[in-house]
């Protein structure tokens, strides 16, 4: 079967860390600039939407509108960070900078490169969560109790979007075509995943659709629960969904990239 080739278990070697380190070194060269967006964005959003728009909104499930969207802002940032790192960022490194070609001339192989890129993408998400969570804590919009759990969870959520992004990178004919998944997949998800209004105002079929196919829905649900200071048992289902999807897309993205690059 031709499809089986996309489900081969990839090799995970500790050398992938060297690719991760390469990206980290580049990130650290502009560390101030890189830390600015996750620091500034939640403040701007909370001022405009939480406290501006929010004055026209009644409480949602007993919390203020600002409190409702604050966890969603973290979730969205997790999605953006790794998705864009592993689409536009990886594509530029692969195609324009030939960074991957340079790396595979050493004892590293393409599996190490792609895995390193994916874990780096997840790390970008974690960094964003690490910067944003304290900022939002200072606004008093997150309960302190489980807030720390948001950080490791950001890595998992980030990994999922890194892997999904890498699948698009593997099949895109050029960099412009990456605008399609950004526009048709990421933007609707940004709006319809229980981010800025509760899912249950949507028609029931749409709710099921969101839960089944929009990964951000699950990330928002987990972070919102943690931010409210409760550990609802239902988040096990969400975490499991994310875990399984991550494994599937990890394997898929590795195989798709190998198919593209090993010629």
């Amino acid at each position: 079967m031709p499809y089986i080739q996309y489900l081969q278990i990839p090799e995970l070697n500790r050398r992938l860390l060297k690719v991760w380190l390469r990206n980290k070194d580049v990130f650290m060269k502009n560390v101030k600039l890189n830390f600015l967006p996750p620091f500034l964005e939640p403040i701007l959003y909370l001022l405009a939407m939480g406290f501006g728009l929010g004055t026209f909104v009644d409480n949602i499930d007993g919390v203020s509108y600002a409190q409702f969207i604050a966890p969603a802002l973290i979730a969205v940032s997790i999605m953006y960070a790794s998705f864009f790192e592993c689409t536009y960022g990886s594509y530029v490194r692969m195609y324009y900078q030939k960074t991957f070609d340079a790396i595979v001339a050493t004892p590293l192989i393409i599996d190490d490169v792609i895995a390193g890129e994916l874990f780096w993408g997840a790390t970008r998400s974690t960094i964003n969560a690490l910067v944003m969570t304290p900022v939002i804590l200072i606004f008093g919009l997150i309960d302190f109790k489980y807030a720390i759990l948001i950080i490791p969870f950001a890595f998992l959520g980030g990994l999922l979007f890194a892997c999904i992004g890498m699948c698009f990178t593997a099949i895109t004919p050029n960099i412009m075509a990456l605008n399609y998944p950004a526009l048709l997949f990421i933007t609707p998800m940004f709006l319809f995943s229980g981010t800025f209004f509760p899912l249950d105002v949507l028609p029931e079929t749409l709710q099921y659709f969101a839960l089944a196919f929009l990964p951000l829905t699950h990330i928002v649900r987990v972070i919102r629960t943690l931010a409210y200071g409760s550990l609802e048992p239902f988040i096990i289902v969400d975490v499991l969904w994310i875990l399984i999807a991550s494994v599937i897309f990890f394997i898929l993205s590795m195989n798709l990239m190998k198919k593209r690059l090993i010629i």
Partner: protein, 305 residues
């Protein structure tokens, strides 16, 4: 007798991209300490062969061993002892000269202190120490090429594979690269290179192959190849129809190349005498036969794309 200390050994090597056969059943070997060249027109399959040796492009069929190990099963081990200068520079534009090397040495598990030492040495070796902290984007073409060479030497390779190392360089930069390659050869490093500069191949290579349409059409030492295919000398004369007639009567080996006729010979004096007497010709140029003559004779004058 084929010696045993072979660094590369290829048997009936084939590489196909979909329907296109880029490397068509070639066999060759490279001995330890040798400088070995791949020549051939554009699209002959040189880069494809280099990539298979570098273990980054899987072969379609045949056998290919580097350091006695199979390229399809021992990629990491082989690459550990190999240095690569690719046809297209792929320096990291996000890093400075120093950072490029520092980062690259990590891929080879070279310790921090050891890397510092080697980077300093190598930057001196390729005369880029003054550019240590420059961004690679702002280096000239020759500097970039030298930096790529330095990068290929970080792991003290036993084998260096260079795909057109001197492409686009001025004579000074080319001579510098040659000098560095000879220095490496003296240290016992095996060197495999491709080039379109035939004088370069003639000067540097102990042995070489000429490829065309994916096949090896000649193999041997440069001087021997010239002797076998051309002779020692070449006489060039302007192309006139009467002259062609005259040449046909004599039994000289010649080729019409546009507005000149090239006559291959082992005895230029005899030919020039013959031409001036029998064909009443007085404008002639006599010169030594070169690899370029062999190349053009064997691969023709038609442009490849």
């Amino acid at each position: 007798m084929v010696p045993i200390n072979l660094i590369i050994k290829a048997d009936n090597l084939v590489k196909r991209y979909n329907n296109l056969t880029a490397v068509d059943n070639i066999s060759f070997y490279v001995k330890e300490g040798e400088m070995f060249g791949f020549l051939g027109p554009n699209g002959a399959g040189k880069t494809t062969t280099m990539k298979m040796i570098q273990c980054v492009s899987p072969k379609t069929s045949g056998k290919l061993e580097v350091f006695g190990m199979d390229v399809s099963t021992h990629q990491r081990e082989i690459k550990k002892y190999m240095g690569v200068v690719p046809q297209e520079n792929n320096l990291d534009p996000d890093f400075t000269v120093y950072e490029n090397l520092r980062n690259y040495s990590r891929y080879f598990d070279i310790s921090m202190e050891e890397a510092e030492k080697r980077i300093e040495e190598l930057l001196n070796f390729v005369q880029l120490i003054d550019k240590k902290n420059s961004t690679t984007e702002y280096l000239s073409g020759g500097m970039k090429r030298r930096l790529v060479l330095a990068r290929a030497l970080l792991n003290n390779p036993r084998l260096i594979v260079l795909d057109e190392p001197t492409v686009g360089l001025d004579p000074q930069a080319r001579h510098l690269i040659w000098e560095k390659l000879r220095a490496l050869k003296k240290k016992g490093v095996t060197i495999v290179l491709t080039t379109h500069y035939l004088d370069e191949a003639e000067k540097l290579c102990d042995r070489l192959v000429v490829m065309d349409y994916g096949k090896i059409i000649v193999e041997g030492e440069p001087s021997q190849i010239i002797k076998d295919h051309i002779g020692t000398g070449v006489v060039e004369v302007d192309n006139y129809p009467e002259l062609v007639e005259c040449l046909q009567k004599s039994d000289s080996i010649y080729e019409v190349m546009g507005d000149i006729i090239v006559i291959y010979t082992n005895d230029p004096v005899h030919i020039t005498n013959q031409l001036s007497m029998e064909c009443s010709l007085d404008k002639m140029t006599t010169r030594k036969a070169t690899l370029e003559d062999v190349f053009l004779k064997l691969t023709g004058r038609k442009l490849r794309d």
